[in-house]
């Protein structure tokens, strides 16, 4: 799935991945790919501006450590982030339920 298709949903996915513990950027992207069975395919570098934006909105915090001689930034959810994740998850479930409801009973056209 291209980056454009992810538009509007990346925040929810990042918050969900961080819901079970702090992670650094590479681990977040690796888990995103693994959990989506490699469906979400986007330039990995573009995830960092999204993480920074979430941090600026106080949904995440971060801290720096040194690992194997390199500086590493690890992100974790804040309480506000957990609240936002709950809200966005609920909104997504409502949205998908509504779409499913509309699609139910509609015959798919034959694929050429």
């Amino acid at each position: 799935m291209s980056g454009q298709a992810l538009k509007g949903h990346l925040d929810l996915l990042l918050l969900a991945i961080l819901s079970d513990g702090a992670k650094h950027g590479y681990a977040i992207i690796d888990e995103l790919r693994e959990r989506s069975d490699e469906t979400f395919d986007l330039p990995e570098g573009t995830v960092y501006p999204a993480l920074h934006r979430l941090q600026k909105g106080d949904l995440l915090t971060s801290e720096w450590t040194v690992v194997q001689g390199r500086r590493r930034r690890t992100y974790r959810l804040t309480d506000k982030g957990r609240g936002a994740l709950g809200d966005q998850r609920h909104a997504w479930q409502e949205f998908t339920a509504a779409v499913q409801s509309v699609l139910r009973g509609v015959t798919w056209p034959d694929t050429p």
Binding site: G3, Q4, L6, K7, G8, H9, L10, D11, H24, G25, Y26, I29, D30, L42, P43, E44, G45, T46, Y48, P49, A50, R53, V67, Q68, G69, R70, R71, R72, R73
Partner: protein, 280 residues
Amino acid sequence: MARYALIDDYLDTMRDGLHWRRDLDDLVSEMEDHLYSTVEHMCSAGHEPAVAERTALDRFGDPKTLASVYASTKHGGLAVPTKFTRRAGTVSLVSAALFAAFGAYWITWSEFLDSKFEWEGAGSTAFVLATAVLATAFLCLAFATVGIIQRTGTKGILPIVAFVFLGLAVVASMLAWYFPGWMLLGGLGSLIGSIILLRSGLGSTASALLYGLGLLAGLVSFMLLTTMEVGRVDEWGDYPLAAAVGIGIGCFATAIGLIGIGRWLRNEEPVDIEPTPIHA
């Protein structure tokens, strides 16, 4: 730690592409950690280091695209310096000089005018020239504000409102004798520009505050001194000292703010980036 030449070259490219970011070192450190983590992970899975390095860079993304994503604002604009940014900086300095000149004129000359409305003699000539200076100062202020807003990548209703106020201030400045009018209109326009600048986190806070609050502070000073009836009363019932202090504060504070902003904008190195939609 083993170094990889392609990754290091990539990081140098990102440094050049994001040179205007205050948090540049943090951004590059994070990218370095990601790229090296990718290579280490792939090597431990049995891939050749050269292959792992290329794959890590391919998966991370094109430097120009990433720089554009980092520069994109939620309004859909690009918060990067361009050639226009430097021109706006120059015009900002010109505006500062013109405001300072008008402020100096009002403090020193207008006190000695016999009548501001008789179109004879050096007094009226000076007044007409000063009015032209003031109108030009506001035109330059409007241009500088465009540059500030462009640099922050801000779009929407706020920039439009700022331009409306500054446009009205240009018109009002042609009636230089009625200074509360242009001080209020110009003050509101630059206040909005200042709010946009402060929210972006760019430039100097002190310069942004002086630029945004200078004219309004002058207006408030004039109103306070007039209410307190400070100094002599002229033949029209006005308080020339209150006017001189108010205009002096307004013009000089704004000028100092514009100097700081102008120097910052002129020092920005232009960046060539195309807009790229961000994911969220």
